[in-house]
C-alpha cells in the first residue's frame, strides 16, 4: 500500500512548532497529551498554555501530539498485531449491546453504565489498580482524575461534551509508579496514548503500565467559550447530567434534580471545537474496547465494540460475575454505525484537503491515496 509518511517521521520539533502547527492552527483537540509532560505546558480551562519559554529543539510534546504524524500501521500492529486496515471503524471482534445489571450504576450513568461496570470489574479482578479518566469539578468542567476505588469510578460516571485534558493526569503520575492502570478516553486521547506506548516517553510514568484502554465514541466536543455559555444559560451547580440525544432530537440537554433544560443544537454548533472537524476516528479504533450509546432504538443500553483479547476477556469476566448483561445488536444498527463512522472520515478527508489545498497533503493523517480516492468517490 502506498504511504506517504516516511519523510515526516524524522521531524525534530518542540513546543514552538506545537503551537505554530497545531494549537494556534486550530488542530488541537485538547486531549492533554502534551500538558503535564513538562513544567512548561499546562491545560487550563480549555486552553493549552506555554507557561515559560522552552528552549528545546526536540520536544516530546510535539512528538506525541496526535495531530502530528503517526505511523498508523505501527500503532495498529502494536495493539492488534496487524497493519492499519483503512476500514470503516477499525479492527474489532464483535459488536453488541450491553448495560450494567446494577440499577444504581445505570441511574448514575450516561446510558447503560457499561464503562463504569467494566472498570469496577477490572479493579475488583486486579486487572488494574487505578483508572485515569475524566471527572467533572464543582464548576462542571471536565478534568483528568485518577480513580482508585469503585466509589471514585462512580464519581466519574456520565458524559461531558467539553474536551477533557485527561492525558495530563497520566503525565503527572509519579515516574516510579508501578500501578496497573486503566484508561478511559475519547478517540483522540486513546490514539495519543497508543502513540506514547509505541515509543514510550522518557521521564514519565511507564506508559506500558496502562493495561486496559476503554474508548468512548465521539463526534465532536464543545469548546471555545462553551463553558462560559453554559454558565450563562444553565444552573450548573445543580447539573447532574449532560446529554445530546440521538435523532430525531436536536437538542443539548442539561439535567438537574428538578428537571431538564435544553438548547437547540443549532444554537451551540459554533462552539464545536474546530479541531474535531479534522478527526478521522469516531469509535476509538485503537482501544481494547469501545463504548457508545445504544442510540434512540436502544435507550439505556450501550453499543460495545470489542476489539482485542484484552477487551473480550474483560467483557467475559463482567458477564460471568453477573455485573453486565448483553444482547445482540441488529445488523442494521451495525451498518448505521459503520455509515456514521465512514461519514466522519469522509468529512475529515474533505476538511484536511481544504486545509492544505492538496489531496496529496493530509497533514497529520497518514492514509493511502488509494483510500482517499475510494472514500471521496
Amino acid at each position: 500500500m502506498e504511504r506517504r509518511g516516511a519523510a515526516t517521521a524524522v521531524e525534530v520539533k518542540a513546543s514552538k512548532e506545537l503551537f505554530k502547527e497545531i494549537i494556534n492552527a486550530g488542530l488541537c483537540s485538547l486531549c492533554g497529551g502534551c500538558s503535564g509532560s513538562c513544567p512548561y505546558l499546562v491545560s487550563y480551562k480549555g486552553r493549552v498554555i506555554l507557561m515559560d519559554n522552552c528552549n528545546l529543539a526536540d520536544g516530546q510534546c510535539h512528538e506525541y501530539c496526535w495531530r502530528t504524524y503517526s505511523d498508523l500501521d505501527a500503532l495498529n500492529q502494536k495493539v492488534f498485531g496487524v497493519p492499519y486496515g483503512e476500514s470503516e471503524m477499525g479492527v474489532f471482534k464483535e459488536v453488541f449491546l450491553a448495560r450494567s445489571k446494577d440499577p444504581d450504576i445505570r441511574r448514575r450513568s450516561q446510558d447503560g453504565g457499561t464503562v463504569t461496570t467494566l472498570l469496577t470489574v477490572a479493579l475488583a479482578e486486579k486487572m488494574i489498580d487505578a483508572v485515569v479518566e475524566t471527572k467533572l469539578d464543582a464548576d462542571k468542567r471536565p478534568h483528568g482524575f485518577l480513580a482508585r476505588s469503585k466509589k471514585e469510578i462512580l464519581e466519574c460516571a456520565g458524559a461531558s461534551y467539553e474536551p477533557s485534558p485527561v492525558l495530563e493526569t497520566l503525565n503527572h503520575l509519579p515516574k516510579d509508579s508501578t500501578d496497573k492502570l486503566g484508561f478511559v478516553g475519547v478517540p483522540c486521547q486513546v490514539s495519543c496514548l497508543r502513540k506514547m506506548q509505541l515509543n514510550p516517553p522518557r521521564n514519565r510514568v511507564n506508559v506500558d503500565n496502562v493495561k486496559l484502554v476503554i474508548g468512548l465514541f465521539c463526534g465532536w466536543t464543545l469548546a471555545q467559550g462553551f463553558h462560559e455559555f453554559m454558565k450563562e444559560h444553565f444552573d450548573l451547580s445543580n447539573a447532574i447530567k449532560f446529554d445530546v440525544p440521538h435523532s430525531p432530537f436536536h437538542t443539548y440537554d442539561v439535567y438537574t434534580e428538578s428537571g431538564k433544560q435544553s438548547v437547540e443544537l443549532e444554537d451551540i454548533r459554533s462552539y464545536i471545537n474546530t479541531a474535531c472537524s479534522y478527526c478521522f476516528d469516531m469509535t476509538a479504533e485503537f482501544a481494547d474496547i469501545s463504548v457508545g450509546s445504544g442510540r434512540t432504538a436502544f435507550k439505556g443500553w450501550n453499543t460495545v465494540v470489542v476489539r482485542n483479547k484484552t477487551g473480550a476477556k474483560l467483557v467475559e469476566k463482567a458477564k460471568a460475575k453477573g455485573a453486565l448483561e448483553t444482547q445482540a445488536i441488529p445488523e442494521e444498527s451495525i451498518t448505521n454505525l459503520k455509515r456514521a463512522s465512514l461519514g466522519k472520515k469522509k468529512r475529515t478527508l474533505e476538511n484536511l484537503i481544504a486545509l492544505s489545498g492538496s489531496k496529496k497533503d493530509l497533514g497529520y493523517l497518514d492514509v493511502s491515496q488509494d483510500f482517499i480516492t475510494r472514500f471521496l468517490s
Binding site: S37, C38, P39, Y40, V42, Y44, K45, R47, I49, L50, M51, D52, N53, C54, N55, L56, D58, G59, Q60, P174, K175, P201, R202, N203, R204
Partner: protein, 654 residues
C-alpha cells in the same frame, strides 16, 4: 559606618563622600535632617541619625522627598538649620514645592542635597539635576572630592542664610559612594530652639526680582570662592574645565599623559550661577577648551552663554565637550574617556592599556563570575511573588502584563519573568495601571497588575489608588510588602514600627489604608506558591474594580541577619531530570534563583549551600520533586550536604 560626630578637629579620616556631607552638616550646626532613601544618597541621613540623639538634633526618614523638603523648610522657618537629602528622582518630586520656596525665602540655613547617579548604576533613569537648580534659580555647588563634600555642605548653610534662599549641593555616585581623605573641622555646640516669627510669607510685589538679586549676590561670592581653582601653565595648549568627579578623572588623565606643562585644569565648584569674571580670566589661558562633566553639558552650556556676552576681542576658544562629541552626554565617565578626548584634540596617541593585556584582564575577571542573568537575591519573597503573578497571568490569558514602579520587585523584565512591561517612577505602577484600567470602554480586555512596594506605597501610590476607586478603574495592584525599603538598604518606613533614629514608631497599616480607600484587599504569603497563584487567578478572573493583593513576607536579607534559615535544601540527582526533555533546566533557566546552580559534569541541578537562603520555595517549583527540603538544624546541615554530594558522586560515576 563611622561615628561622624568624632570630636577631633584637624584629624584626617578616610570616609565616604556621603559621610563627608553628613559631617559638613554637623559642622554647620544642623538641627533638623529629613530624607527619603535613594541610592546614591542613602547613607547621608543614617550617618546623621546615628549621632542625632548625642548631638541633640532630629533626623527622620520622610515618606517622600516632598514631605522631607517641606518638613526641613518648616524647621528652617522656625530658626533651625535644616537639610533635606535625596537622589535625582526626588528633586523632581520636590520641584513644585521648590519653585514656590525660591519665591519666598527661608529662615535659618536650608540646604538641599542631591546625589545623582550617572550610569545609571542604581536608578531607573539617568538624570542630571543641575539644570533643575538653574531652572528654579537655586545657587548650586558640586564637590570635586571628599573634602569638598564636607566643606561645601558646611558653607552652603552660611550662604543660604546670608542670601536668604535655599542652596543646593549636587554630587554624583562616585563621590558619594567612594572613600577619600577628609580633614575634620570643629563641631559647634548648638542648643536648638524652634520658634516661628510670623514675618515670613508673601513679600508683596516682585518676589522673582528679589530672587534674581539673591542670585547676583551668590555670583559675587562665587567669584572669589576657594571651590574654584586653576592648576597649570599660564599659557596652555588646552584648558580642561571640569567639575564633580570629572575633576579627579581629568587630573589623573593629565598626570598619566605627562601633560602638566601643556594642559591647564580649571576646577569649578560653584556652578550656578557661574562666576563670570573668574571664568573670563581663565578662558584666556588657551585657544582650546575641553569640558569634562557628567551627564548634561551644564557648565559647557553656561560657559558658551557667557562667551556670547563677552565683548568681541578676537576669536573665542574652540570648545570641545559633549557638543563636539568628545565627551559622552550619558553614562558615567572615567580617566580613559578624558585621555581619549585629549588624544583626539591634541593629536596624541597615548594608550591607556595594551589591547592584548586588556583582553586578558577581562577574560580573567569573567572567569571568576558565575554566568547568569540579572535576578533577585536568594530567598527573595519577590521571586516567589513574581512566579505566582507570572503563572496567574499566563493561565488567565488575554496578554496580561504588569506595570511597575521603583523597587527590588520592579526591575523591568529582569528576574520577574518578563511580566512588567512599563517601569517608570515611584507610584508609576498603580498610576499607569489605573489608566489602563479605564480603557475597557475602548475594548481593552488585558489584565493589568500594578507593582508597588511597601515603602513606595506610602511614597506615591496612594493618590493613584484613590483615583482608581473614584474613577471606576479596573485594576489589580500587588503590594510587595517585605517590611523594609530594601533596595536602598533596609531603611524603616511607616509600616515597620520604628523610625530613622531606631526608636519605636506608630505603624500605618497598608491594608487598612487600602480598605479605607475602598479597594478589595487580600493578603497572601508569597511562599505559598499555589495558594497565592490561585488567589491571583481568582482576582483576575472573577473580580473586577480595584483589587489589592498584599504579598506579606519579610525581606530575606533582614530575616537572615536575625535567625538561621528555615530549611536545608538539596537536590536528589536521581530524580533531577537535568537537561533532558520534560524539564530543560527549568529551575536554573526559568526560576533563576542564584542558590540553584548547574553541574555541567553530571548535567544535574545543585544547590549552592553558601548562597542558598533555605526558603524552600524551589521545592515547589521543581516539577519532579527532585529538590528536597528538611528542617534546618546545625547538625542536619552537614548530614544533608554530605548526602547530596554522595549521591552526586554516584551519578557522576555512572
Amino acid at each position: 559606618m563611622p561615628d561622624i560626630d568624632v570630636n577631633a578637629p584637624g584629624t584626617t579620616v578616610l570616609w565616604m563622600g556621603n559621610e563627608g556631607i553628613a559631617r559638613g552638616a554637623l559642622e554647620a550646626g544642623v538641627g533638623f535632617a529629613s530624607a527619603y532613601p535613594g541610592t546614591p544618597s542613602s547613607e547621608i541621613l543614617p550617618a546623621i541619625a546615628e549621632v542625632a540623639k548625642r548631638m541633640g538634633i532630629y533626623a527622620e526618614w520622610a515618606v517622600n522627598e516632598m514631605v522631607a523638603m517641606e518638613s526641613a523648610t518648616a524647621a528652617s522657618l522656625a530658626g533651625i538649620r535644616s537639610i533635606a537629602i535625596m537622589k535625582q528622582n526626588g528633586v523632581n518630586v520636590v520641584s513644585d514645592f521648590l519653585a514656590n520656596l525660591v519665591m519666598r525665602g527661608i529662615g535659618k540655613g536650608l540646604v538641599l542635597i542631591c546625589a545623582d547617579d550617572p550610569g545609571p548604576h542604581n536608578s531607573s533613569n539617568e538624570q542630571d539635576t543641575r539644570p533643575v537648580a538653574k531652572w528654579l534659580d537655586i545657587p548650586l555647588l558640586e564637590p570635586g572630592d571628599f573634602q569638598e563634600a564636607k566643606d561645601m555642605t558646611k558653607w552652603l548653610f552660611d550662604l543660604a542664610e546670608e542670601i536668604n534662599t535655599i542652596c543646593m549641593l549636587r554630587t554624583v555616585g562616585k563621590i558619594a559612594h567612594t572613600r577619600g581623605n577628609i580633614k575634620l573641622g570643629e563641631l559647634p555646640v548648638v542648643e536648638h530652639k524652634a520658634h516661628f516669627a510670623a514675618s515670613y510669607g508673601f513679600r508683596g510685589a516682585g518676589p522673582h526680582a528679589e530672587l534674581h538679586k539673591k542670585l547676583a549676590k551668590a555670583q559675587e561670592k562665587f567669584e572669589s570662592s576657594p571651590f574654584n581653582l586653576y592648576i597649570g601653565p599660564d599659557k596652555a595648549e588646552l584648558l580642561i574645565i571640569a567639575c564633580g568627579a570629572s575633576w579627579l578623572y581629568s587630573q589623573e588623565a593629565v598626570r598619566l599623559m605627562n601633560l602638566q606643562d601643556k594642559v591647564g585644569l580649571l576646577k569649578m565648584g560653584t556652578i550656578y550661577p557661574l562666576p563670570e569674571k573668574f571664568m573670563e580670566k581663565h578662558l584666556k589661558k588657551a585657544s582650546k577648551v575641553l569640558f569634562v562633566e557628567e551627564v548634561h553639558p551644564f557648565v559647557e552650556q553656561g560657559v558658551m552663554e557667557l562667551v556670547g556676552t563677552l565683548p568681541p576681542s578676537g576669536p573665542h576658544p574652540v570648545f570641545y565637550g559633549k557638543r563636539s562629541g568628545h565627551i559622552p552626554a550619558y553614562g558615567d565617565l572615567d580617566p580613559s574617556v578624558v585621555i581619549k578626548a585629549i588624544n583626539s584634540i591634541m593629536g596624541l596617541n597615548y594608550q591607556t592599556r595594551d589591547a592584548e593585556y586588556d583582553k586578558k584582564v577581562k577574560a580573567l575577571a569573567q572567569s571568576y563570575v558565575t554566568a547568569r542573568s540579572g535576578t533577585l537575591c536568594p530567598g527573595c519573597p519577590h521571586k516567589a511573588s513574581h512566579w505566582a503573578i507570572h503563572r496567574a497571568l499566563q493561565l488567565t490569558g488575554h496578554e496580561g502584563f504588569g506595570t511597575s514602579d521603583i523597587g527590588c520587585y520592579g526591575g523591568g523584565g529582569v528576574g520577574s519573568f518578563g511580566i512588567t512591561k512599563t517601569h517608570f517612577c515611584m507610584g508609576g505602577g498603580i498610576g499607569v495601571a489605573n489608566g489602563f484600567g479605564k480603557l475597557g470602554r475602548f475594548g481593552f480586555d488585558q489584565p493589568v497588575v500594578a507593582f508597588c512596594g511597601d515603602s513606595t506605597f506610602y511614597h506615591a501610590a496612594i493618590p493613584g489608588l484613590i483615583d482608581a476607586v473614584y474613577n471606576g478603574s479596573n485594576v489589580l495592584m500587588v503590594i510587595f510588602d517585605n517590611s523594609a525599603t530594601s533596595m536602598t538598604g533596609f531603611q524603616p518606613h511607616p509600616g515597620t514600627g520604628r523610625n530613622a533614629m531606631g526608636e519605636p514608631a506608630a505603624t500605618v497599616s497598608i491594608e487598612a489604608v487600602c480598605k479605607a480607600i475602598g479597594a478589595q484587599v487580600v493578603i497572601c504569603d508569597p511562599f505559598e506558591l499555589k495558594k497565592t497563584t490561585d488567589t491571583l487567578v481568582d482576582m483576575i478572573e472573577n473580580k473586577t474594580g480595584v483589587r489589592v493583593v498584599i504579598m506579606d513576607r519579610e525581606c530575606e536579607l533582614i530575616r537572615a541577619r536575625r535567625e538561621e534559615p528555615p530549611y536545608r535544601v538539596y537536590v536528589d540527582p536521581e530524580k533531577c531530570l537535568g537537561e533532558d526533555c520534560g524539564c530543560d533546566m527549568f529551575c536554573n533557566r526559568v526560576f533563576l534563583c542564584t542558590g540553584l546552580t548547574w553541574n555541567r559534569q553530571t548535567g544535574k541541578a545543585e544547590i549552592d549551600d553558601v548562597i542558598c537562603a533555605g526558603c524552600g520555595v524551589c521545592v515547589d517549583v521543581c516539577p519532579h520533586g527532585a529538590i528536597i527540603k528538611e528542617p534546618y538544624t546545625a547538625k542536619g546541615k552537614e548530614k544533608v550536604a554530605v548526602k547530596g554530594k554522595e549521591k552526586l558522586k554516584e551519578v557522576a560515576a555512572r
